[in-house]
Symmetry: none
Subunit: 202 residues, 4 copies
């Protein structure tokens, strides 16, 4: 697979720069320079910038869904749930609070006309939502959460806090608000769980 190396180098440079600056603020030349590749190859592999953005979104989804990133998207135990918000906060710290969710950042830069790209973003958001929802459903089924608990709504709640927290952190260059929000969320989820069984950890 030697020949695809160039393609991957371009995608990885694009992810890095899009994540830092957004799509609109990143020029193709910048990506080519950072990846050490040429203009013709860019067209050859991606046709145009939107093509690269799409490839970037797909690639990002793949590496996140296969667990090759620091942030925890998949949750199976209460212990992992406990770490869920924290992994995003830790990520932010590791990048000096200068970034947000890569897919949210890219999505935020899409115009109304780029519906194909937005589909890709939505696909990812649905996946991450469903990962959490599945966990809440599992705990509901297992009696750890009360029958009144709504797994989907809880998942949306967590995702909203995560996205909002990431954005606030990036804007403020400070994780305080995110930490506060995450703490309240954890208290709430814990309170639901304690309804079922008051002795557990979260």
């Amino acid at each position: 697979m030697k020949k695809t190396q160039t393609r991957i180098k371009m995608i990885e440079a694009a992810i890095d720069l899009f994540h830092q600056q957004g799509v609109n603020a990143t020029s193709i030349d910048e990506i080519l320079a950072q990846s050490g590749t040429g203009k013709g190859q860019f067209t050859h592999f991606f046709k145009n910038k939107d093509g690269l953005v799409k490839a970037t979104l797909i690639y990002l989804s793949e590496i996140i869904q296969s667990g090759q990133v620091a942030t925890v998207y998949q949750v199976k135990t209460w212990q992992e749930m406990d770490l869920w918000f924290q992994s995003f906060i830790d990520f932010q710290r590791s990048v000096n609070c200068e970034r947000s969710c890569p897919i949210g950042t890219i999505g935020n830069d899409l115009s109304s006309k780029q519906s194909e790209l937005r589909e890709e973003v939505i696909r990812f958001l649905s996946w991450s939502r469903n990962e959490l929802a599945r966990f809440f459903q599992q705990e509901k089924d297992g009696g750890e959460l009360p029958p009144s608990a709504k797994p989907d709504a809880l998942a949306d709640f967590c995702i909203a806090i995560m996205q909002g927290g990431m954005l606030l952190t990036k804007l403020k260059r400070d994780t305080d608000a995110f930490e506060n929000a995450a703490e309240q969320a954890r208290i709430y989820i814990k309170s639901l769980r304690m309804t079922g069984d008051k002795g557990r950890s979260l």
Copy 2:
């Protein structure tokens, strides 16, 4: 005040376009065309694009802080608190879920170097956070919230959900996730309040 008319027209066009497309995707010419003004006047009033962005942020803060917008930023009663999330959801519906928080949108487009502009964004975020925090403090002081309640954290929690919910809505073109998240947040806040007094509304 004839002379400031041009300036205001420019700012209002800029707010509209920045809100829709972000700062980077909006050209000065587009703003001039939409406001029916000329290039020389732009330089005269704002010197350059950053100057316009700053003026835009200040103007936005002013109209929001003086209550000239549909969304409810200031909360004095539990009834208003109840409407807080809803007003943002209603706003999204009114714009076909195509926008997010104007200041968040602008802030998201700032580069690391535009620290003066980011200061402006942070100033606004702090204000909106403090508006909520003041309310929670007031209720804590009045015994409506328990001594363990953290007004600042609760405010950050609400702001994070609002920003995250707005972003998710814009990305998905659908308020479902935001509504779910807001509902969980209301349940949580209500649960805190019920700790103090179980009979109230929220």
Copy 3:
């Protein structure tokens, strides 16, 4: 009108280059270099290449219709009719047989999508056709041409020979074919006229 000087310089350079090479083979940079103008002004005045082509067609129509060119488009007497074909042949000789009709050349380079530009070309062709048709009608009315003569058809006949002759001349770098065709056309028209009055010149 100092300020429009740049615009005119661009148009004149464009006419020259389009006429020589066609529209597709002429780059904007080439036009800017030849006219000694800048890229920004190009956008300012014409928005894009199609805008320049349109301005070029309009300008060409104007100078031709106001008689500021060597070729004779307007015919009022049989003497002028006699010179009609010759003026195009002479023009070709003056440019080493390297050009054709400027408007035909531009029109030939238009794609199916550029219907607005084609309208402009058609407008000119109709005008030039009508100039001839008016002459033939006048002669028919005056009894110089027989009642069976069709002024419109004769005009189309002349225009077709002119366009075809110009093209053949450019392709062959030689006016022989054009001269032959023009001679036959003159013989035909003369024969029509002789029907009415055998003593005149053409």
Copy 4:
């Protein structure tokens, strides 16, 4: 002949696209896409774009000269002469008046430097001119045309009207002008013939 299939597919795609859009407006990639072939094969067979254009001109000449096209280039009888203009008009109708003579179109896009390619175009034009000239000579020899008739000039006259008519039709998207011109040409030629013998058809 499996191996030449690719070459022929490329040439035929090129003819089609060059005829539609001209040479300059057609990219090699477009030809490869339409013919379902690859870049390496292109170089292998034609070396570069000019090589393809040349092969295209030769191929076009061959299929026209061997009578594999709808348009009638070869004339042996007055009946065929009668159909000569009409076959070009019919062709235009069949392509919605969106094309012109393929070789004229290609020739028109050649630059001053592509003299080898222009030679190829001239070779074809001479052939088609000579086809007509031979017919007129034959009729002159046979007494159908008067001694004063000039076969070469008559041929150039017909070719000019055909090329001009095709161009006008493409520009106007309408065969009216071409039909008018062709009708006048037929009247003229008929008048010559009637000089010799007044009873024949054309």
